[in-house]
Symmetry: C2
């Protein structure tokens, strides 16, 4: 028979546990996983198999080897509206390892976007995310870093984890995903990826919540974030700046969900080798318009590592011309148009009158977030050369043709 | 001082509560809400305001009156991969009322899609969804129905709830969203909406998981589900049929998330009056291609209610020609192309050689899920007339032009 103090201790323990579970703080190893780990992915069609619908991609002829997903490590920088959904999708797909970087706390003001829940308000985003994601799929390895990647010390640590935080410690990660909401963080990721020769993908959503984009960056092969003014479907501004002025950017779970979905779809295509990976894909929600393009790097890029990667790529291209693009073999290439038409920018002079830096020719629907004031004029000819153009609306194409 | 039996009772109660919270079963009113209800939406920029980022859409000039979202009731039929995310997005946006219909249980096999969590396995999808959604936003009214809408009794009840389940009992809902995975359920929703003159939106994802679509249906104005073979970006088959044969359709959280995002974005555009609502928007994930189109109804449609709605519409159009489309005033209309070009189908005869029913002219990337074998040949001329064509890739347009 238990004594009264023993029972009281038990009550206190249960009350603590209940509070922890309610707050989403339980875990750090003590909480039992909601499902057991699965040693080997199976294609068996039973209700208890969380991988049956993914392994079916093999039978459907989409993916040759789905199990390979477990061999990849992906870093997600920023787990806000886009990053949290990105992390959840990769977790549900059974990615090998996720490294998550963020320094923000969950707030009720985040509840208009997917993933976080009101009871997590006040927790760090990386801890709250890890708790939820581990319950969803305990087969995934999680590594979280609750810091701002842009400060000097943290940046060095961030670089180290990109270089060594792969599935096997000491190996680099397979892909870095930028899901941040400000210029400094994007530039820090760009600097790290150029220096480490690390392939990465960028994502962004406009401050009016009705447009967004994703971008695929291969150092030396595609324009980096410093090669040209960043491209957006509509202007993008720093949420933090707005906050200080007593206003805030608008956001929608729809736009964020679409951008995260398009981003992770391209991650899966890149890692598992199916379909074609988009270099730049925009989403204009007002008209359901999705402009695409690709840009060559700027030989005079301010980033020294970018210029070095360009040299590496030229040498590699000269010796192994067939291996220039990772996904080239699998890509369903749009045929060259045999009318000899090159589309030019629809961005009006008025729209860009505030611009003091060089502005590349851009397809309809894509514009620059801002321009770099100190750029030399002679850079203009070299930057932002559009190498691919896949989709134009009928009306836009008509307008372009009439100008010929 | 408490007695031992009292303490033991307290322990049992705590253990029950803990188990309930862990299982996500707590609630039916007893569990305290995770945040308090909010009487009036505020635009105040504070971390504790879950609506600040949505109300910011007004300041950004996107939405004239965001608070109006609270006056709408939306029915979501099917809370699987697309429906659950659709319901979550609408909940986070602060919709007035959600009516949710499904008869399935949560299984671990659903865990490769967003929303449901492993600890909910075994619960009915509508109950599990309500529990999660109410915690996310207690301001939303939820009405759940755990049944199959296609059986006779349930269909009558379903019709009654569409007619009377609006924000004010006795008023119709504002929109019905079809997020089901089979033909019978889609046809039941189509029949109900035609009879009730109820505007609805359809969504679907292909069995190979790499394409999907959304469609906007206005009885009498646009082709209904019975007017022509349903349009898909790739073939769609019934998951249940496949299950019986020991195989299953593939699915991805990415494709489902994108389709749900595009669907709810169009719901918001329709309800709140901004941007243009897409009549048919496809998503081809392999190439990040998004075909769009619209179809007029078939005057010889099998559905009698559809034909009646067409008559109503003709009368309305004759007396009030400006009021023909609900969203026409707000729509950013694509200008008529002044080249006089009408695009014709790129669907080859070979692709459709199995077809025994009439096949409408369709844009690239969209095809019919199947054809109806018993259709009269003379119907062909009238069905599936394409009334709008907004996006073609450059190459496709070139090909179309060369044929002129």
């Amino acid at each position: 028979m238990a004594t009264i103090p023993e029972l009281q201790a038990k009550i206190r323990a249960l009350e603590d546990e209940l509070a922890a579970v309610r707050a989403g703080k339980a875990g750090s190893g003590e909480q039992p996983c909601q499902r057991k780990k699965i040693e080997k992915m199976s294609a068996e069609v039973v209700d208890s198999n969380p991988y049956s619908r993914l392994m079916a991609l093999k039978r459907m002829g989409i993916v040759a080897d789905y199990e390979k997903i477990r061999e990849f490590a992906v870093a997600v920088v920023g787990v806000g509206g886009v990053g949290s959904v990105t992390a959840e999708m990769l977790t549900r797909c059974g990615i090998g390892k996720l490294l998550i970087f963020d320094y923000d706390k969950v707030e009720l003001a985040n509840m208009n976007r997917l993933f976080f829940q009101p009871h997590q308000a006040g927790l760090s985003k990386v801890e709250a995310a890890k708790h939820t994601l581990r319950n969803i799929n305990p087969d995934v390895q999680f590594e979280t870093h609750n810091y701002n990647v842009t400060t000097m010390d943290n940046f060095q640590h961030f670089m180290d984890r990109i270089r060594n935080g792969g599935l096997q410690e000491g190996q680099p990660v397979d892909l870095v995903l930028s899901c941040v909401d400000n210029f400094e963080a994007r530039m820090a990721i760009n600097t790290a990826c150029n220096e480490l020769d690390q392939v990465w993908m960028e994502s962004g959503v406009s401050e009016n919540a009705v447009s967004g984009h994703i971008q695929f960056l291969i150092p030396g092969q595609t324009a980096c974030f410093a090669c040209a003014p960043p491209l957006v479907v509509a202007a993008n501004i720093d949420e933090k700046t707005l906050k200080r002025e007593g206003v805030c950017a608008a956001s929608l779970p729809t736009t964020m969900g679409v951008v995260a979905g398009l981003l992770v779809q391209n991650v899966l295509k890149y890692l598992l080798g199916f379909g074609s990976v988009s270099y730049y894909l925009g989403y204009n929600a007002m008209q359901d318009f999705f402009p695409t393009m690709a840009m060559k790097p700027n030989p005079n890029c301010d980033d020294q590592s970018c210029r070095l990667r360009q040299e590496d790529y030229k040498k590699k291209e000269a010796t192994h011309p067939k291996q220039q693009l990772v996904e080239e073999d699998q890509q369903i290439v749009h045929e060259e148009n045999d009318w000899g038409i090159e589309l030019v920018s629809e961005v009006s002079e008025e729209e860009l009158k505030a611009a003091s830096g060089p502005v590349p020719d851009l397809p309809v629907g894509i514009t620059v977030a801002y321009t770099v004031p100190d750029k030399q004029e002679e850079d203009t000819a070299n930057i932002g050369e559009t190498v691919q153009e896949t989709e134009q609306s009928l009306e836009e194409l008509m307008a372009a043709m009439k100008r010929l």
